[in-house]
């Protein structure tokens, strides 16, 4: 369950940027990204179906998706679980992290499997992350463990109402 690596954390220059892509997608990649943000087929050979829809062959689609994941043009490929529908919980959280401790705190926070996303933002509250736990009561528990591990207060911003969520961006 652990992260295989924490790129960027060790090198201060890179840590500002975080997990940046190593290249830009070309026109074919962009077409594929748009096609793959729809409903991925639940067929025996879904990449072949996507390939047929965009006019490529299956081997090229598979190779391009693998390359885009490797180069972090894609951050994920697979099911996006709605944990609240499985009895679990999500919660946005933020911390004010001193610059001097940035790398160390980022590494500690990212090391928690319950931390699903983590963004650096420009504000006194400069680290914003999403906690995902299997039970609603797990949120307060993991927030407490992050406070213990970092020595910094964790502010919780639970969703009180969802007005809109769009899951796709045109490439």
């Amino acid at each position: 369950m652990s992260e295989t690596s924490t790129p960027g954390v060790a090198a201060p220059a890179a840590s500002r940027r975080g997990l940046a892509a190593t290249r830009e997608p070309d026109a074919t990649d962009r077409k594929l990204i748009n096609a793959l943000q729809g409903d991925f087929p639940l067929t025996e050979t879904p990449f072949a179906d996507v390939a047929a829809a965009v006019g490529l062959d299956e081997a090229e689609v598979i190779a391009r998706v693998q390359a885009m994941l490797r180069d972090r043009v894609l951050t994920r490929f697979g099911p996006m679980f709605q944990i609240e529908r499985m009895g679990g919980a999500f919660c946005l959280a933020a911390m004010a992290v001193p610059e001097a401790a940035w790398g160390e705190v980022a590494e500690a926070v990212n090391g928690f499997p319950e931390v699903a996303h983590n963004y650096r933002r420009e504000h006194s509250l400069n680290m914003w992350f999403v906690l995902a736990t299997e039970r609603p009561e797990g949120i307060a528990d993991v927030a407490g463990r992050i406070e213990a591990a970092t020595g910094l207060p964790v502010h919780l911003f639970p969703k009180e109402k969802e007005y809109f969520v769009e899951m796709k961006l045109e490439a």
């Binding site: 960027g8 830009e24 997608p25 943000q37 025996e44 679980f81 980022a106 007005y163 961006l169």
Partner: protein
């Protein structure tokens, strides 16, 4: 669109094994569901059926690619935050969430005195200027349609992705 009711009965053992096997992503191979089946010890057909059921029940929002926003040109990821009069927060949230450049819109608790904001609207754009122009557009709309309801605002730009894994449940 009607949402499926939350189901706190959770997952059965096979569902759970499938979630664990796919939460880091689907194998990018010709027959990804067969690969998952081999890993969890069931038939390919069962994996496809369970994933279909989880999509229908809303436990999976969708299956597919999650692009790195930066890599596809959405370099300015601005979290606009608003201090909105509680009396009109819901109509304001619905109105802002309906704007086509707002990708996520939520009501969240204030953390007074440091954090007076109760409405979060994520704006993705190709440049910081474009994102700020859109936030100004929201402000003007609120002044026009909900005069006096907005007591303050800020925009927190993302300065890097530190982690993005989606859901992880403990094995």
């Amino acid at each position: 669109m009607a949402s499926p009711a939350p189901d706190h009965s959770g997952l059965d053992e096979l569902d759970r094994r499938i979630v664990l096997a796919t939460q880091d992503g689907l194998p990018v191979v010709s027959r990804p569901y067969a690969a998952v089946a081999a890993q969890v010890g069931c038939t390919e057909e069962a994996v496809r059926e369970r994933l279909t059921q989880m999509l229908e029940s809303g436990r999976i929002r969708r299956i597919g690619a999650v692009p790195n926003h930066y890599a596809i040109g959405y370099t300015a990821n601005g979290m606009s935050v608003w201090n909105i009069d509680d009396a009109v927060i819901d109509p304001v949230g619905e109105r802002v969430g309906a704007l086509d450049f707002v990708t996520h819109c939520y009501r969240r608790p204030r953390h007074l005195p440091d954090w007076p904001y109760n409405l979060f609207a994520m704006v993705h754009a190709a440049s910081r200027e474009a994102a700020l122009a859109r936030v100004d557009e929201i402000a003007m709309l609120l002044e026009r349609e909900f005069r006096g309801a907005c007591k303050g605002r800020d925009v927190l730009f993302s300065a890097g992705i530190l982690k993005k894994t989606g859901l992880r449940i403990a094995g």
